[in-house]
C-alpha cells in the first residue's frame, strides 16, 4: 500500500554562506523555516524539488523534509535533525538562532 503523503518542504544550504535555507512560495530562499512553501502532494513536492535543484548557482543539496502544520498552517520539522537545522548548534548561540 502506498505510504500516506505527509506535508513536505524543500530545504538546502546557501552556496555562499553554507547556512540552512528554505524554498518559499514566491520561489525565493528564506532562512526561516516558517516561510517555507508546503507541498501537500507528492507531485507538488517533486516539482518543487526539481525547481530548487536546478538553481545550483544559489544553493547546495536541496532535499525534501517532512513537516507538521500548526493551526495557522505554519510548518514545523518532524525529525530532530531538521529541528536542529532551524536554529543552529546547541552548544553556542551561533548560526541562525543568533542571526534571525
Amino acid at each position: 500500500m502506498a505510504r500516506e503523503f505527509k506535508p513536505q518542504i524543500v530545504t538546502a544550504n546557501d552556496l555562499l554562506l553554507g547556512d540552512v535555507i528554505y524554498l518559499t512560495k514566491a520561489g525565493n530562499w528564506s532562512r526561516r523555516h516558517e516561510d517555507a512553501h508546503v507541498a501537500v502532494s507528492a507531485d507538488q513536492a517533486q516539482t518543487m524539488l526539481a525547481h530548487a535543484s536546478a538553481r545550483q548557482d544559489e544553493i547546495v543539496g536541496a532535499y525534501l523534509a517532512e513537516v507538521t502544520l500548526d493551526d495557522s498552517g505554519t510548518p514545523h520539522p518532524v525529525h530532530f535533525r531538521e529541528a536542529f537545522r532551524t536554529r543552529g548548534p546547541s552548544n553556542y548561540f551561533h548560526g541562525k538562532q543568533a542571526e534571525v
Binding site: L15, G18, V20, R81, F84, P89, S90, Y92
Partner: protein, 555 residues
C-alpha cells in the same frame, strides 16, 4: 620543528591558486556542485549541517607558536572566534564562508600549513604520540618517521583514489598513546635483539561500523625498509580492497575477509618488487629529517620551588597530579592543557586561548605545542620550576581544568550539532556528564575513567575504545544512546562490549551515575581503575547497574 622546503611551499601555494580559481568558477556558475564537490573536499572543505567546515591538518599533532597564532587569527577573521581540535589531531573551523576559504588557505600556507588530504580516499593526516620527543618512556621520537610518511604520502599519485580513506598512526613508546591498533596501519618503534632501530607494523585496525583491532603484519621491519613496505601494503590494498561497497572498503575488511597470512604473503611479495624501485633507503631520509626535531637545549637545574609551590597551592597540586606527565628530563614536565572545562565543548579553543597557549609555549616551552587525539593541547617541555607560572596563566585563560584522564576528559565528536553524517548529538551529552560528576564532587575520587562519545556509527569519538563508550543513534526519530563497556585504546586494546538497549537522552546520565557508583562500591581500592575492575568482575554487576529493571523482571 620541521619547516617546509621550497618544494612544499611551491606545492601548497599552487594548490591555493588552483582552488581560488575553482571557487571563482563555482560562484560564477562555470562549475556545478557535482563538479566542485570533489575539488573542495580535496582541499578539506566540507558542507556540514549549518555551514561549511574547513579541516586543517596538523601533521602528527605538532605545531609552534607562530602556527598557533595564525590559527587564532583565522578563527577570528574568518570564523566565529574559535577552532575545534579533533581526534585526528586536526583543527576544524566550523563557520567559514565559501568565498573566504582561498584566503584562509593562503594564510595557512604563510605558516607552512594546509588542508590537503584532510578529506578523500587518500592517506590522511599522519598521527603520532602527542608526547613525542618528551615522554620518559619513549624509545625514540616518532616524528621524523611521521614526517617522512607525510612527505611520501602527500600527493602520492598512486594513492589519491584508494578504495577508502587511509589512516596511519605511529608511536615511539611502548605505552601506546597514539591508538595504533585502531588504524589502517599502526607503527610502533622497536629495537631488534641486536639493538637496531626498526618498526612493528600493525595492519587492519579501525573503529566505525565494523571495529577491528589491528594485527601484527611484521614484528620487526628495519628502518631502511619503511617506505617500500608501506608502499607494498598500500599497493595490495589499492588492488584488492573492495570498491563495491563503501562500508566494506577499508583495509580492516580486506584483512578480515582475506586472512592475515594471505595478506602478509601478498605484501611481502609486493615488497620484494617495490624495494628494487626505491632509490633512497628510508633510514637515510629519516636521519636527514631528524635534524629538524632535535631536542631543545634543556636547563637541567632542579629546584625545590616546584614542590614548595604545590604544597602552598592545592589547585596547583591537583593540576600537577592530573595534567603533568613524566618528562625524559627529570627537571621538566609535560603539561597537558585541557580543552574540557566543565560544561564546555570538548576540543574547542577560542582565539584568545590559542594565543595564551602560543605565548606559554614560546616563553616556557621551547616553542613546542602538540595536539592530542584526546582533543587536548600539550606543552611537551616545561621546566618544573616554570609550571606554577604556566598554571597561573592557564587559570586566567580558563584552561587550567585539572581533569586529564578523569571522567570529564571526554572525547566527543561534533555530533549532530555540526556534522552532516551524525545521527544524534554528542556535545550536550559530554557537557551533562561533566556537569553531573562535577556536582557530585566525585571526579577525583573515581580516578582514571575514559568516556568517549560518538554521534554516529562512524565512531569519530572512538566510543568502541572508551572504558565507557557512548554511541548516539536515531531510534524512530528520537536521539538514543547505546553504551559499551570495557573498551581500551592503549597497547592492551580492547573493544567495548555493547551493554544492552540504548537509553533516551534523559535516562543516560542517571544510568551512568549508577554504573560509576557500582564501580566505587566494588573496587578493591582507589588504585583499581574502572577498567581494571570491569576486567576483574566481568560485565554482570555493571549491567545490573545500568538496567535495574531487568533485575526486577528476572527476580
Amino acid at each position: 620543528m620541521y619547516a617546509y622546503d621550497e618544494f612544499d611551499q611551491a606545492f601548497v601555494r599552487e594548490r591555493v591558486r588552483q582552488f581560488r580559481g575553482q571557487v571563482e568558477k563555482r560562484l560564477d556558475g562555470s562549475l556545478t556542485e557535482d563538479e566542485f564537490k570533489p575539488l573542495r573536499l580535496m582541499n578539506g572543505l566540507y558542507l556540514q549541517l549549518h555551514a561549511y567546515m574547513l579541516r586543517v591538518a596538523i601533521p602528527y599533532g605538532t605545531l609552534d607558536s607562530r602556527k598557533m597564532r595564525q590559527l587564532a587569527m583565522i578563527a577570528e577573521k574568518w570564523d566565529k572566534g574559535y577552532g575545534h581540535f579533533t581526534t585526528r589531531q586536526n583543527i576544524q573551523f566550523n563557520w567559514p564562508k565559501l568565498k573566504d576559504v582561498p584566503d584562509m588557505l593562503e594564510a595557512l600556507a604563510d605558516v607552512g600549513m594546509h588542508a590537503i588530504q584532510t578529506s578523500g580516499n587518500c592517506v590522511r593526516n599522519v598521527t603520532a604520540d602527542h608526547f613525542a620527543g618528551a615522554a620518559a618512556d619513549e624509545i625514540e621520537d616518532p616524528r621524523p618517521t611521521a614526517e617522512l610518511i607525510r612527505q611520501w604520502s602527500t600527493d602520492h599519485p598512486e594513492f589519491q583514489f584508494l578504495p577508502r580513506k587511509f589512516k596511519i598512526a605511529i608511536t615511539g613508546a611502548p605505552n601506546d598513546r597514539a591508538v595504533t591498533k585502531a588504524h589502517d596501519i599502526g607503527i610502533r618503534m622497536v629495537r631488534s635483539e641486536q639493538g637496531e632501530p626498526g618498526y612493528e607494523i600493525i595492519v587492519g585496525g579501525g573503529l566505525g561500523r565494523s571495529p577491528f583491532i589491528g594485527k601484527v603484519l611484521r614484528d620487526f621491519l628495519p628502518r631502511a625498509h619503511l617506505l617500500p613496505y608501506l608502499e607494498a601494503i598500500l599497493q595490495v590494498y589499492n588492488l584488492s580492497g573492495r570498491r563495491d561497497n563503501k562500508f566494506k572498503a577499508r583495509i580492516k575488511i580486506l584483512v578480515h575477509e582475506t586472512g592475515l597470512e594471505e595478506i602478509r604473503d601478498a605484501v611481502e611479495a609486493t615488497f620484494e618488487r617495490v624495494l628494487e624501485e626505491f632509490e633512497y633507503p628510508s633510514d637515510a631520509l629519516i636521519s636527514e629529517i631528524a635534524s629538524h626535531f632535535e631536542p631543545p637545549e634543556f636547563d637541567n637545574t632542579q629546584t625545590l620551588a616546584f614542590e614548595e609551590a604545590q604544597e602552598a597551592d592545592p589547585l596547583l597540586r591537583s593540576f600537577v597530579e592530573t595534567n603533568v606527565s613524566q618528562h625524559k628530563n627529570p627537571a621538566y614536565g609535560i603539561v597537558t592543557v585541557s580543552t574540557k572545562p566543565v560544561g564546555g565543548t570538548p576540543g574547542d579553543v577560542t582565539a584568545d586561548q590559542m594565543r595564551v597557549i602560543a605565548d606559554l609555549a614560546e616563553r616556557y616551552g621551547h616553542d613546542e605545542i602538540r595536539i592530542s587525539h584526546e582533543q587536548n593541547a600539550v606543552l611537551p617541555h616545561v621546566r618544573k620550576a616554570d609550571i606554577p607560572a604556566v598554571h597561573a596563566a592557564l587559570r586566567e585563560a580558563g584552561l587550567a581544568t585539572a581533569n586529564i584522564g578523569l571522567v570529564s576528559d571526554i572525547i566527543a565528536c561534533p555530533g549532530m550539532d555540526y556534522c552532516a553524517l551524525a545521527t544524534a548529538r554528542s556535545i550536550p551529552i559530554a557537557q551533562e556528564i561533566a556537569e553531573r560528576f562535577h556536582a557530585l564532587k566525585l571526579e577525583h575520587e573515581i580516578g582514571e575513567l575514559k568516556i568517549k562519545i560518538s554521534g554516529c556509527i562512524n565512531a569519530c569519538g572512538h566510543h568502541h575504545v572508551g572504558h565507557i563508550g557512548i554511541l548516539g543513534l536515531d531510534k524512530a526519530g528520537v536521539e538514543n544512546y547505546q553504551v559499551t563497556l570495557g573498551g581500551d585504546a592503549t597497547e592492551t586494546m580492547a573493544l567495548g562490549e555493547r551493554a544492552g538497549p540504548g537509553f533516551a537522552a534523559g535516562e543516560l546520565i542517571p544510568a551512568l551515575e549508577r554504573l560509576v557508583e557500582t564501580y566505587l562500591d566494588l573496587r578493591r581500592d582507589r588504585s583499581e581503575t574502572f577498567l581494571a575492575a570491569y576486567r576483574r568482575l566481568g560485565a554482570a554487576p555493571f549491567l545490573a547497574a545500568l538496567y535495574p529493571e531487568d533485575e526486577r523482571h528476572a527476580a
